[in-house]
Structure formats: C-alpha cells, structure tokens
Amino acid sequence: MKVTIERAQLAKSLAHVHRVVERRNTIPILANVLLRAGKSSVELKATDLDLEIVETAPGEGKTTGSTTVPAHMIYDIVRKLPEGAQVELQSASDGAQLQVRAGRSKFTLQALPETDFPDLAAGEMTHSFNIASADLKRLIDRTQFAISTEETRYYLNGIYLHAIDDKLRAVATDGHRLAQAEIKAPKGAKGMPGVIVPRKTVAEVQRLIDDAGEEVKVELSATKIRFSLGNAVLTSKLIDGTFPDYGRVIPAGNDKTLVVDKSEFMSAVDRVSTVSSERGRAVKLALTDGKLTLSVINPDSGSATEELEVEYGAEALDIGFNGRYLLDILQQIEGEKARLKLADPGSPTLIEDMEAAGALYVLMPMRV
C-alpha cells in the first residue's frame, strides 16, 4: 500500500476515528486504525467492538492495499506535522511496518495485518430515514445530560429513541431526573422499534454532526443503528434492554405553576450554591405569592438567600432540589422563561420549555 494525503484531511479524519479507540485494550488490534487505500481515496476504520466508525478521505493511491497501525500514535504524529504537508503512507513489503513520511520527517510504525481486524457485522437494517442534522442535534443536546453513568442499570446508559404517534422522541433518565425531547417524525421513522443508543455513540454522533451537512441518514434494526454523517459512517450496537415505562413518572396532575425567568433563576441558583461545599447539597425553594426565595445552608461555612420575583399564584410551598440538577435542566431551556409545575416536596416536578414544544424535564426533589 502506498498513498499520499494532504495533512489537514488526514488529521481531521483521524481526529474523528481515533476517539472510538479505547486508550487501554486487551486485544492489541483494537488499539489500531485500519487504513485502506483506494485509487483516489483512503478509508479509515476503527472499532471498540460495540461501535465502529468508517471515514473516507480523499487521497492519491499509488498502490492500493491496507494495513492497521496504532490509532492514537498515528494521530499524534499527523497532528504535529507542519501545516500543508503532504503525508505519504507506505507499508513495508512484508506488511509488518508502515512508513509515514512528510517533508523531512520519517516515522516507522509497527503494523498488524488487516485480516485480524474485527468487523462489526451490521446485518440487515429494517428501517431507514433521513433526519435534518439540526433536529438530531437537538434531540441529543436536550437529553444527553440525563443519561445514567451507573453500570448496573445498564438500560439507562443511553438515549431511548422511539417513534410515538407522528413524533420521533428521545428520552434519557438516571433515576433522579428525566429529559424528553421530540421532533416531527421523519419519513420512514414510523413503526421503528424503540432503541437505546449507548452513551458513547451519542457522544460521537454529537461531535460529528457539525461536519455532517444538512441531513443525516439513520438506518436501524432491533440490534444495531447506523448514522451516515457526511464522510463518516458510524455503526453501533444498541443496548439490549428494556427502557422503563417513563410515561408513568411524568406527572400529569401538578397544579402549582411557577413561571420564572430562566437566566435570572440560573444565576440565582448558581450564586446561592457557592456556600455549599459538598456535592449534592440542596437548594431550598420557598414559594409564596409572586415571590421565590432560594436558600442554601451550609452549617460549616454559612448560608445564602436570594429572592426572585416570579409568576406564582398557588399556595405557599417549600421544596428542595439538588442545585446541580436544577442547573443542568435550566441550561436546556431554549426560551427566556421556564415553567415549573409542582405538587408537593416529595413528588416529581415537571419543568417545561415554554418555546420548544415537546421538550420537558422531570426532577425529583431532595429531602432536607
């Protein structure tokens, strides 16, 4: 294999694929990126056995062929080469090494043959649709923060993507809070199975989406999902589990409505949280007619209170929330105002975006 690529092109593609490669591996070949030279392009492929990325970059192939080399190392090398350099990749005749040349720099990397490189057999995809990049980005951005990181409830370690009525809806929860976002279902999404897209895949899609152009093609089956984002194709296994019946935890009968200016509220929460030292310290909200008083008490260092003028007409209520969680949710609100629907200090609170229809958040209070 012998191929010449422009440095910027190669660096960009490697930047995309190398992230899929785990830093520590027990199987040596998983640390490698597969390079396959065609006549006028180079295909780069990396996998961690759950997620596979294939990206195509333009290149001038003198001899076609393929090899695999350590992904993080070749990325670091290419990154440090001077701007505008032409990079030549040439594998040794026995295939055991790959030479990387650019200007007066020359590197020799240990290579492993392509035959050992695992293939994430995609199988047949049953559903396929195109979705506007902006829509997909919104679904991810609004819900990603609520994905659980706790491994035992593995079925919460991703975003639950499913079609409901004529909507495509994304839901994530970690057992303390829940986020839901939806868009009008694209053509072809109707009747798709509900799937749980793993956290790592979600993060990669989010990174690639800005370079993806107007539309993203999504294909899926009951066990796999594939996103075609511009030059990159991401294929991932899905989380094999049942997402809980989230509809039951979204409160319907909360009758105390609070409307508050989002940025004012966020700054206030952030300010009063300063006095709490340990994580998970509660912010108390005391609601009376037209007034919201936030307070944090830290017996070691002091206390903080702040008052806000709000729209609130129901009976007085005291409720505590994890300040961090409250900020996470408020950050997702697109409009200027947030609407909180409360019931009592021990029941879930519903937070709605007054401008973005379909986006809603549920937060469980803390007991203090």
Binding site: S148, T149, E150, E151, T152, R153, T173, D174, G175, H176, R177, L178, P244, V249, S277, E278, R279, G280, R281, A282, P299, D300, G320, N322, G346, P348, V362, M364, P365, M366, R367, V368
Partner: protein, 592 residues
C-alpha cells in the same frame, strides 16, 4: 433396613464428636472442670499436640469414690443444682465432657475429695468403665487422657499438625487464664513451659494477667473499658488502634467468665473500632461481659463458643458505646510502640565514624561524566533543611499541654513540639486529615443527611429473611438517608438514597447491607460508605505534606488535635504523632 436403637457406645462416640472436636476442646473441658471445682492452681501437660497425652491436675475440691464412679456416666454432673437450665453460673453443666472423652480415648481420673484421707481412681477406655480402685494423690483431681481419638480414627485423620494442635491448646488456656486471674496456670507442652502466676481479681490483677497473656507492651497500649447499662456490665481492656494486629486472634471475649467467640460481640467490637482501623487490621482487646445468667443462653453450642443474649441489641450497643468512649478518651495517646520502635531503630548499631572509615571515601562512586555533572543538582533537589525555628515565644502553658509547644517544622512535613518531659513529632497531613474527618463526621450526625428521592424507585430482590431484617431497621437506615419499604414477596423498594452518594447503585448497596446485617446485625456498610466519601473530602481539604506552616499555625494544629476525638491515628489507623519521652531520648544516648 429396619429402624433400630443404636447401641450406647455408638451413641457416645457420636456425641463425643460434638463436644470433643480436637485436643484443645478436651483441654478446655478439663480445665473448666478444674475451675468449677474451685481450684486456684491448674497444671496442664500435653505431648504430641495433645494426641498422646493430656494431663490436667488441680487443687480443687476433688471427688469421693461414689462421685468418681458417676462422673464418667453421660449426663451426670454436679454443677446443675436444680433442673433450672436458665440459671447457670458454672462453666460446665451438660455432663457430657468426661463420658465423651472416655468414649474416644483412654481416660484415667484420680481424685481425692477435700477432707478425705484417701484418693481413688477410675479408668475408661473406649467407653468401657473400670472398677474404682484406691490410688495415691495429695489433693484435688488429676485427669489423664492418653491416645485421644484412638477409638474414633476418622477424627484422628482430620487433626492438624502437632504444632497447630499445641497452639490451639495454648490458646484455649490463654482465654481461660484471662477470665480467671485468680487461678494460677502452668502449661507444659513439649519442651515449653508457660506460667501465669496468681493475680488479683481487681483491675490491676486483670491488667497484669492481660500483660502475661498478650505480651509485655500490652499494658501501656490499652485503655480500660468499663460501662454498664440495665444490668449488663462490660469491663476489660481495649487496645489502642495503633496497637492493632493482622489477625483476630488477640480478641478475647468473655460472657460471665466464659470465653466465647460470639458473632454479636465480634460485630460489636468491629463497630466500636469502625473508623479507627484500616480493614485487615484487628484490635487487641479483652472484654468481660457480666449479666444475669438468666439473660443469656449458653446452651446453644456443644462447645459453648456461642451464646445467645435475650437482648442482643442492648449488649451490642453497650459494647460499641463502651469501646468508643474508652478509645476517644485515650485518643490523645498514640501507641507507645511507636516510640519504642523509634528508639530501637535509632540506636546506633556501631559507633559512627567507624562504619565507613577504612573504605576510604564515604562519597558513593559516581559513574560517567553526565552523572558527575548531574551531581551538582542533587543538593538542589534535596528536601530543604530549613527547620522554621521557633519565631514565636514559647509559652509555658503550651509546654504543659499533652502535645506541647511547636518548636520547628522539618522537611515541611513534620512538626516537632516540646513538652515538659519529652518531644512530640507530628505528621501534619495525617493529623489534619483526621481533624477534618472528625468534623465532617460530626456534621453528618448533627445536620442529618439530605436524601435524593428517586424518580424510578429501585426494586431490589432479596431473600425473605433479608427483607425482614432490612425492614426491621428501616428507621435506622432512614436516618442514614436510605429510605426503603417492603415490596411484596422477597423484595424491597428503595425510594430515597443519601444525596452524598450521588448516582449510586441501589442494588449493590442494599444487597451488601442485607448480607452485613444478616451476619453482624448492624448497618455499618452504609455508614462506612458515607464516611468513606467524607474521608475523601477530608483528605482533599487537608494540609498536605510539603506545606510550610508558621509557628502559630503549628500550635493551632496541635491544640486542635488535643480537642479532637481519635486524633492519635489517621483515617487509615496509622499514628499521627509519636511521642518521645526524655527517658526514651536518654536511652538513645545510652544514659539509661
């Protein structure tokens, strides 16, 4: 095969297996008999790990010929007056030991009743009783057991090595010796003779006996424990956390003078030392629990190693509390072994100057050129010798305090303080970490724990008994921030978790808790989880090694240590300071 009544000698051998499991259990039974007979002197001789010979002689009340004939019969005893099994004040009562030994070995008992002018002997071999014969003995009783387990070869196969069996016998006698300082014990095993001389039954006597048993430095490294509540009294000595051991063999527990290995008590002991010891370290302690014999059932286990309390939580609570009180009182003490170790380490092995004299230059050989050039940097890299001498005046009042007045900081890590009669070296990071930790712990206790209510309550499936145990403790758990309730058959529903734990794995947390409760009857893992986080925070917020402290800061740290409970060791059980008395220093220089 038809059902038939087993012949008596088979019954006896089966029963013997329960009571007499190994030579040590035979020794235990015989020595307990001697103590029950009111002996003040007990001599034990064993050979071959007790397999060849066990001989126990005492100066107790002895038996006349009728008693002697009866004592080797099953369920014959002199120790149970009435038929009240609830009121047992002797060590033995089941009337099983002698016939069991007789069923499995060659047993000979020679005894002379007090006041009688003749001694008698009875022999039992493999369950066959001989006639009573006159014999010679000046006082008390002498029991000889030869060829133990010759009649039960299966048991013989499972015995451990001679050394292991000897060690077990000695351990049994140690435990009994601790319980009864007013009895003198002599053990001759193989070539070794161990003697525990007669001691008083008061505090000093107990301490002296403990020192006999555990070793000479026990006295200086233990604190007395004494507490009573509702008719239960716990007394004894608890080792300082810095005087811990790597196994639990130095834990001696007694209930009404009876050595036990009881789970409730062992759990309580762990509870008492909960955050003072690193896991894998075990405290040294001898605790004597005294209560009305009717409040405890000793008839649970043939070897009586376990007991059952009528109110286990009372006993448990009392022991935990008593240990915590005793240890926090003695907290300002670190183990003296620290100083001892230091002194022995620091004592020059040969006079300095001689050591490198004849080898020529004492400077180490340096290799290549590059290294020689590098050497110039070495002095820069070395820790600063700046000792931050005392700039502030030393107050007499400070000198008189337990940790004295700070005089210098060495290597930006150790504070050297002067006391009236010695000097103290403090590890500033370890000490400050402990102070911050104790503060956090107090805050947790005082302010309560805020909980995060779960959006999706977690269902945890468990055994029914575990569910019952957890639900019974729901109130206590709720105080620690874990709110759960029963959820149908064999499951609990977790509704709230401690906010401090963040996003936590309720399944594992609850399962661990259930297992722990089943075994130890306390909710330690949850508390420990919370405190582990507290201690991580405390480590983060502590003064690190390598930070320069001003004299005022050093003194403030010392005063804070004096005020803090358990300041003698860091969260991992290492000492936070070492005290060297003038006496120790004088020893260093050979003045003593």
């Amino acid at each position: 095969m038809p059902v038939r009544q087993l012949p008596e000698n088979v019954v006896n051998r089966i029963a013997a297996g329960e009571v007499i499991e190994r030579p040590a259990s035979a020794v235990k039974e015989l020595v307990e008999n001697a103590i029950d007979a009111g002996a003040t002197r007990v001599e034990v001789v064993i050979s071959g790990g007790g397999r060849e010979l066990i001989r126990v002689s005492d100066n107790g009340s002895g038996m006349n010929s009728e008693d002697l004939a009866l004592c080797v019969e099953r369920h014959a005893t002199s120790k149970l007056d009435s038929e009240d099994l609830l009121n047992i004040s002797t060590l033995g009562f089941r009337g099983e030991a002698l016939p069991s030994i007789g069923a499995a070995a060659r047993l000979s008992i020679v005894s002379r009743a007090r006041g009688s002018d003749a001694a008698h002997e009875v022999r039992v071999e493999g369950g066959e009783k001989s006639t009573i014969r006159p014999a010679a003995l000046s006082e008390g009783t002498r029991v000889e057991v030869r060829d133990l387990f010759y009649a039960t070869p299966a048991r013989l196969k499972f015995l451990k090595s001679e050394q292991a069996e000897t060690a077990a016998v000695i351990d049994v006698i140690r435990r009994l010796a601790l319980a009864r300082p007013d009895v003198a014990f002599t053990i001759a095993a193989n070539e070794r003779v161990i003697q525990y001389p007669l001691r008083g039954t008061d505090e000093a006597g107990r301490a002296a006996r403990l020192a006999d048993v555990i070793g000479g430095d026990a006295h200086a490294n233990t604190v007395p424990v004494d507490a009573a509540r509702e008719g239960v009294r716990v007394r004894g000595l608890a080792g300082l956390p810095t005087f811990s051991k790597a196994n639990s063999l130095s834990q001696y527990l007694f209930v009404n003078g009876r050595p036990v290995r009881d789970k409730v008590l062992m759990g309580a002991m762990r509870g008492g030392y909960a955050d003072l010891l690193h896991s894998g370290r075990y405290p040294v302690a001898a605790l004597f629990i005294e209560l009305d014999p009717r409040e405890v059932d000793v008839n649970v286990h043939p070897a009586k190693a376990e007991v059952r309390f009528r109110d286990p939580s009372l006993v448990r609570g009392l022991v935990v509390r008593a240990l915590q009180d005793a240890l926090s009182g003695g907290a300002r003490r670190s183990a003296t072994t620290g100083a001892d170790r230091l002194v022995s380490f620091a004592r020059p092995q040969s006079a300095p100057g001689y050591s490198s004299g004849w080898r020529g230059s004492s400077a180490p050989y340096r290799g290549g050129l590059a290294e020689a050039a590098q050497a110039a940097f070495e002095t820069i890299a070395q820790p600063s010798a700046d000792a931050r001498a005392n700039l502030a005046p030393v107050l007499q009042a400070d000198l008189e305090r337990p940790l004295g007045a700070a005089r210098a900081q060495l290597h930006e890590t150790y504070i050297v303080a002067q006391t009236v009669d010695g000097l103290v070296i403090v590890d500033q990071h370890a000490a400050h970490e402990r102070i911050v930790y104790e503060k956090l712990k107090r805050a947790l206790n005082e302010n309560g724990i805020s909980t995060q209510i779960l959006l999706v309550p977690a269902v945890v499936e468990l055994d029914d008994s575990d569910v019952a145990a957890l639900v019974a403790r729901a109130g206590e758990l709720a105080k620690l921030g874990l709110v759960l309730e029963p959820f149908g058959q064999g499951a609990v529903l977790v509704r709230e978790t401690p906010a401090l734990l963040g996003e936590t794995d309720a399944q594992n947390l609850v399962r661990d808790l259930a297992e722990h409760i089943a075994e130890w009857d306390d909710a330690l893992p949850l508390e420990r989880n919370l405190l582990a986080i507290a201690s991580r925070i405390s480590c983060h917020g502590s003064i690190r090694a390598g930070r320069r402290l001003k004299p005022e800061e050093m003194n403030a740290l010392l005063r804070e240590m004096e005020r803090t409970e358990n300041a003698g060791q860091c969260n991992h059980g290492r000492p936070t300071y070492v005290e060297l008395k003038l006496f120790d220093i004088e020893k260093l220089f050979g003045r003593r």
